[in-house]
Amino acid sequence: MPGLEVLEKLDRRWLFLIMGLLVLEPLMFPLALPLTVTRPVQGFVDAIDKVPDGSTVLMSCDYDPSGIPEMVPMTRTAFRHLLGKNCKVVITVLWPGGPGLVDSVLSEVAREFPDKKYGVDWVNLGYKSGNEAVMVVMGQGIANAFPRDYRGLDSRSLPVMREVRDYASFPLLVNISSGYPGTKEWVQQVQARFHLPMVAGVTAVSAPEYYPYLQSGQIRGLLGGMAGAAEYEKARGEKGSATRGMDAQSLGHLFVAFCILLGNLIRRRPAEARS
């Protein structure tokens, strides 16, 4: 077929252009494709709902700007969810590129709650290098690992930290992570050792790695990538950037599937037809 010969020699930049247009179009003109809340996401919502109102929750945001489209919607909704339950939130960051980004996202959400004060209802302890070593040190005292918060304040002097000693002070760990160090390390070093219940929001590329933890009950809920973030937004009745991105996501996936089928069709033609 002459059409297939043309496709075989097609400049791949045409594929980039088509993919770009397919992603761009629904962002400008939404299709409102249906979305359902899956069990791993419902588990995440339920775990936070079960935390007693007013308790102090540990939230570790382990990502940097490359994770913005997937991680930031999860962070926003989870932080809003916790503040809405009057929980106090202690935030840590184990990725060097993350603390400024995380601080701006949290501050933006905190502005929606005028009665919530920094240092009283939430604190961003910022970044600390050491990966798993930091997690282990936190087990001996959160303030030992983070003597000062991201804004340079003495963390021991902050009201939100007065009743926080170690992992036993928290009923739940909410981990939003892009990779290493992240969910795997929190499970290995903290959930397994200190038996701290945890939920995780992870990038789609790493999500398959964490389903065994969900099946074993080591994590109570899992948000996988932008789809997980969009489902979480739906479960909370929000319409954030993840929900808005899901139409583009669906069209992009359809195009990739179409390209795979077409590529196989072209490559699997008889040798004489290809020559």
Binding site: R13, F16, M19, G20, V23, L24, L27, M28, S66, I68, P69, E70, P96, G97, P99, G126, Y127, K128, S129, E132, A133, V136, A145, F146, P147, R148, Y150, G152, K184, E185, V187, Q188, Q189, Q191, A192, R193, T203, A204, V205, S206, A207, P208, P212, Q215, S216, G217, Q218, G224, G225, M226, A227, S241, R244, G245, A248, Q249, G252, H253, V256
Partner: protein, 236 residues
């Protein structure tokens, strides 16, 4: 739909650099190179400042200063509650030990001076030893034992056919996938059948992994487009 262009200089820099990076999709060009080199340079500077102010100062210099000078590092006010000196073990204060990681950290820089470069191996040995220990115990507790326990589930549950089917598929998939990686015997006969079955389960796993990877990559593109449309152009 109308345009509301951003008045934020930072947003404009971000948008222009995004377009510079996108230009690589057409072909390599000087605009892409500018963005790439700028990223490397800014990242290096950012990391140095970040590590200094969020790790070295609060976790090493400040506690040591308090112990040695018995004064607050920032205000210069004398500290009343603690005893001066490097150690106050009876007060539960072991900050003096921080001298050791401080010295080990400095030894890493000995690589810059040829003849004494070997000193950095002490620090590296410490780092490798500590991390090997932490990783091993973490893996044993969090993965090996916990996952083994979770894999030992009943194959049959009265009145719950969905659970039974799921358990059987899970167990057959687990065993056949493990047998695929058993290389001490040729994959023939029963072992061959099970290892071939294991390939199907592995392929299903790879397929799910590929689908999730595509989702992650498209998410990155969506994120940049959302930034350009919402934050930069202000399309509403």
């Amino acid at each position: 739909m109308s345009l509301h262009l951003s008045h934020d200089f930072g947003i404009w820099i971000g948008a222009v650099l995004t377009l510079f990076i996108f230009s690589f999709l057409y072909k390599d060009n000087p605009f892409y190179k500018i963005a790439e080199h700028l990223f490397v340079g800014v990242s290096a500077g950012y990391y140095i400042i970040l590590y200094w102010w969020t790790v070295i100062v609060p976790n090493l210099i400040e506690p040591l200063w308090k112990q040695l000078a018995h004064r607050d590092l920032w205000t210069g006010q004398p500290l009343l509650q603690a005893r001066p000196g490097l150690f106050a073990a009876e007060l539960g204060d072991y900050r003096g030990w921080l001298v050791i990681p401080g010295i080990l950290g400095l030894l890493l820089f000995s690589r810059l001076f040829g003849k004494i470069g070997w000193l950095s191996r002490w620090s590296l040995a410490m780092i490798i030893g500590v991390y090997a220990g932490i990783k091993t115990t973490g893996f044993a507790q969090g993965d090996f034992v916990a996952q083994l326990q979770a894999s030992l589930q009943p194959l049959w549950k009265a009145g719950d056919p969905a659970f039974t089917i799921n358990s059987v598929i899970f167990t057959v998939g687990l065993i056949s996938s493990l047998l695929f990686f058993f290389f001490s015997r040729e994959h023939k006969g029963t072992l061959g059948v099970f290892s071939r079955l294991g390939v199907f389960f592995l392929m299903a796993g790879f397929g799910a992994g590929y689908g999730y990877t595509v989702m992650s990559r498209i998410s990155l593109l969506i994120g940049r487009f959302q930034f350009l449309l919402d934050n930069w152009l202000g399309l509403r």
